[in-house]
Every structure is written in C-alpha cells, then in structure tokens.
C-alpha cells in the first residue's frame, strides 16, 4: 500500500478521485482483514463500505505527521471491524453457509473453511483481532499495539489467550 503525498493531500481536501485511488490501493488489505474478522462475505462488504465512508467523512482528523494514510485507514478498519463484531450478539449460521456456497470454487477445502468460520465465530473478537494481525498478517507486536491502541503486554496476553482458546476449540472439535 503506497499512497503518494499528492494523493493523500487531495484526499484530505475532499477530492473523490483521490478517494478512488486510495480505495484501489488499500482495498485488498482492508477487505481481506474484514473478511477474516467476520468470516462472512456479505458482512465484509457492508463493513468495508462503512469503513471507507467513515474514512472519507473523518479525513480532516488525519494527521500526516503521525502516520501514513494507509496505516491510518488500516487502524480505522481494525477498530471498526472490532466494534461491529462486539455489537453483534450472535452470528447467523445459515448466512455463513450461504456465503461459503457463494464462493464455491475459490476455496479448495470447503470443510476446512467452514470449520475455520465456525471457530472464528467462537473466539473473543479482541483475541481474534490480535491473532489475525500477528499470525495471518505477520505484523509485529509494536505495530499491533499501535493499531489497536493497547500496550504490547496486552497484545502478547491476548495472542496467548486467543491461541489457548483455539487449541481448546480444536480439541473439542476432534472429540466430536
């Protein structure tokens, strides 16, 4: 994700063309993150849409001396997805299955993906965010701490607890 200074400035001044460039540059990362967090294509699309609307509306709050535009957008995306997950009390399992069917052909291991979605659904959203950022996106503890606005110690603890939760879930699943 590399956004030029000119594009960033144009974006902050409200230029829609600049927003489109920013969107094209960041879409895969943001959508991938949200999809992993929600495990549901429809939700991922809705949340991604809301994220970019939020990003555009709050563009005046972007401080270029503090972080790059893509990092700022990424930070908003992580926190937005987390809030969306926290506010959702339960998942619609049928919807998840439907979405798996919708992406049929793109996933080789459908059973595996279905299980992953089921497991994702059961992990605490805060732990899930840390696990995805660390193990899937290979981000450093410092980066995660910066993105989520929590201490490195909390990041480590959430990752450990998330892995512990997952191990427990794997065991439960293998016993079935």
């Amino acid at each position: 994700m590399t956004i030029s200074k000119e594009t960033a400035d144009a974006f902050v001044s409200g230029d829609l063309k600049a927003l489109e460039i920013v969107y094209k540059e960041t879409f895969k990362t943001i959508y991938g993150l949200v999809y992993r967090m929600t495990g549901n294509r429809q939700d991922a699309e809705d949340i991604t849409h809301d994220i970019y609307i939020r990003v555009y509306e709050k563009r005046n709050l972007y401080k270029k001396e503090k972080a790059g535009l893509s990092t700022w957008i990424y930070r908003i995306a992580v926190n937005f997805s987390l809030n969306a997950l926290r506010s959702r009390k339960h998942w619609d399992r049928n919807c998840i299955v439907e979405n798996i069917a919708a992406v049929d052909g793109l996933i080789e291991n459908l059973d595996g993906m279905e299980l992953v979605k089921e497991l994702l659904e059961r992990i605490n959203p805060d732990f899930k965010a840390c696990l995805i950022l660390r193990d899937v996106e290979d981000r450093s503890y410092e980066e995660i701490s910066d993105i989520l606005g929590i201490s490195i110690g909390t990041v480590r603890s959430r990752i450990n607890r998330g892995r512990g939760q997952l191990k427990k879930l794997f065991r439960e699943h293998s016993r079935r």
């Binding site: 489109e20 999809y35 793109l106």
Partner: protein, 96 residues
C-alpha cells in the same frame, strides 16, 4: 485441523474480484446521496440548532398561554416593564 492449517486457510482467504467494483459503486452512491441531501439532514449541529429552536418556540407558546390565563393584556410588555421585574424580584423577607 491444527493451528497451522487454521492460519493457512485464513491466509488464503478467497478474494472475489467483483466485490471491489461492487463496494466502490456503493460507496460513490452513498457519498453522492449525502452530497445531494440538504446539509441539515446529515450534519449533527444544524439538527441540534433546529431542535433547540423548536423547543424554545414550544416554551414561548406555553408561556403566552400561561400569561393569558393570568389576564395580562400584553404579555411581552408586561414581562419587560420595570414594575413586573420589581414585583417579581423584590425581596420582602421572602422571595416572590
């Protein structure tokens, strides 16, 4: 399923090329819609201002009725006359 496989599957998350265009269309549609809306429907402060004005108007109407019930001929004149303020605010051992 183990942790390694779990992470591998998550890393290979399916990417639907159609999503990018679809979401962008939705975003530009939302932004266009918001732009075309009159500003007070989207911003919070004009809404607040309008609500306050409506509330103030309701209080004025209620006050007029109250004053009319008291028999005052011209309530505005009545309120701002020195006599009224004096009568209302004078302190004679107890507040009137």
């Amino acid at each position: 399923m183990d942790y390694g496989k779990f992470i591998r599957i998550l890393k290979d998350v399916p990417f639907n090329a159609g999503s990018e265009k679809r979401i962008w269309n939705k975003i530009s549609h939302t932004l266009d819609k918001r732009k075309s809306n009159v500003f007070f429907l989207t911003d919070i402060w004009p809404r607040l201002l309008i609500s306050t004005a409506v509330l103030a108007a309701v209080f004025v109407i209620l006050f007029i009725n109250y004053e009319k019930q008291l028999g005052a001929r011209n309530f505005v004149q009545h309120i701002f006359t020195t006599e009224y303020i004096y009568e209302t605010c004078k302190y004679d051992g107890q507040w009137n």
